[in-house]
Symmetry: C2
Subunit: 279 residues, 2 copies
Amino acid sequence: MKIIRTVEEMQRTSQAWKREGRRVGMVPTMGYLHAGHISLVRIVKREAEACVVSIFVNPTQFGPAEDLARYPRDFERDCRLCREAGVDAVFAPEPAEMYAPDYSTWVVEEALTGPLCGERRPGHFRGVTSVVAKLFNAALPDVAVFGQKDAQQALVLQRMVRDLNFPVKMIIAPIVREADGLAMSSRNVYLSPDERLRALSISQGLDRAAAAFAGGARDTAALCADVRAGIEAAGGRVDYVEIRSRGTLAAVAAVDEPSVLAVAAFFGKTRLIDNLFLG
Amino acid sequence: MKIIRTVEEMQRTSQAWKREGRRVGMVPTMGYLHAGHISLVRIVKREAEACVVSIFVNPTQFGPAEDLARYPRDFERDCRLCREAGVDAVFAPEPAEMYAPDYSTWVVEEALTGPLCGERRPGHFRGVTSVVAKLFNAALPDVAVFGQKDAQQALVLQRMVRDLNFPVKMIIAPIVREADGLAMSSRNVYLSPDERLRALSISQGLDRAAAAFAGGARDTAALCADVRAGIEAAGGRVDYVEIRSRGTLAAVAAVDEPSVLAVAAFFGKTRLIDNLFLG
């Protein structure tokens, strides 16, 4: 497995693969890999003969009060997991390789980034779309896989790929959960044992919503109120619980089109997100 | 010569060329081709074994009061000129192929687009960077050539390519002029014979500035004042005459780094631009 540190070497490597007729698949990550990331690698490997995992804790998608400095990192372990999963190259540039001192070009998506995390984390999605455009131009993937756990991110990036004509097939992969239901996230390591237990109120709320939806419930306010109540009863601080159209991320009063029930909540200082596709 | 109307066909065509080991060169244009464009084709053909000319009058780079509706077009003639110049494919999408009704993703450059045309044409460069990103992702060029006539555009696009890691070699090609010195432009067709004659004051002013610079003149204000006076004496309305750093487009008091003397002026209703690289 190659470990690649520069954009130029990544481009040369990918171009060489393509000349050999290999399709290139990519899993962009911020590292500290878990079983959710590895599930994305498995999906990519079904679609492409060469698999790149990028590991880059992208500074431009963190707000000034957010957790950039303490974001968990373990590059040796990440490489071992990638090697075991059959990854062909890890692309792990330093921030200075990605952002020149006079860096000045941004990719901005202006429709789907307004609500939810876009409203709570100003500048976050502009950092995400810009870095993913850069990662795509470095690794030149034919296919890329993103987890549904970051649902708004996945929808925003699908829109970016469509709008900017990136020649990339986008796949949104199912959420991978711990045995007890907690959505896997590199940030789960921040949780104390007590917070970890109380955080289950998120996935339990989504389970109840899924059952209610299966039973015919369509009223957005009632579905959201139940999820919110469960999180608050467990001592969580809700950032948002909303149901929105998956096509436009517009608010919907009733679930009569493909929608997403999206949750963000704090347990202690740790902000967790999770979601459920409805319809 | 292929005429390609869809992004998907353009991508497939370019990917097939690359698999054959051909490098792909691109000349993005808005059509109504003149000898300046054809000079760009000749440069591309020295660098690449497959040459694409895109012809797309990009609506998003025109302001509401600008000349989108009357921008000159002659697709048959453009195709004939491209065929004669040995172009392999003309990529000529319709606006609806490039911009979905809910299009929402933009590429914005925030440092070099502030002054000069960026100040006078709000939104112009965001349209330019976005469409060139799209054209690059459609034609997947290894090399692209832009004319120095649109100097700020060329510098902004070089910055975009660097910042977003586009795997594209950027070439800025010299300005091609009519026999009497007028910089070639599709918009020259707007000029009446009288305006056409008076517009020569622009290139004549740049010639005087070049001679003064060669003779040791370095004072920005004096160099600009002379160019401005010549245009105004000819009845032109100056939009700007400025000398700025080619690296940063910051204003410079004296020409002691690579700089550009940039001019925009109206003759009648027609806005012309021209420039001179200094140092």
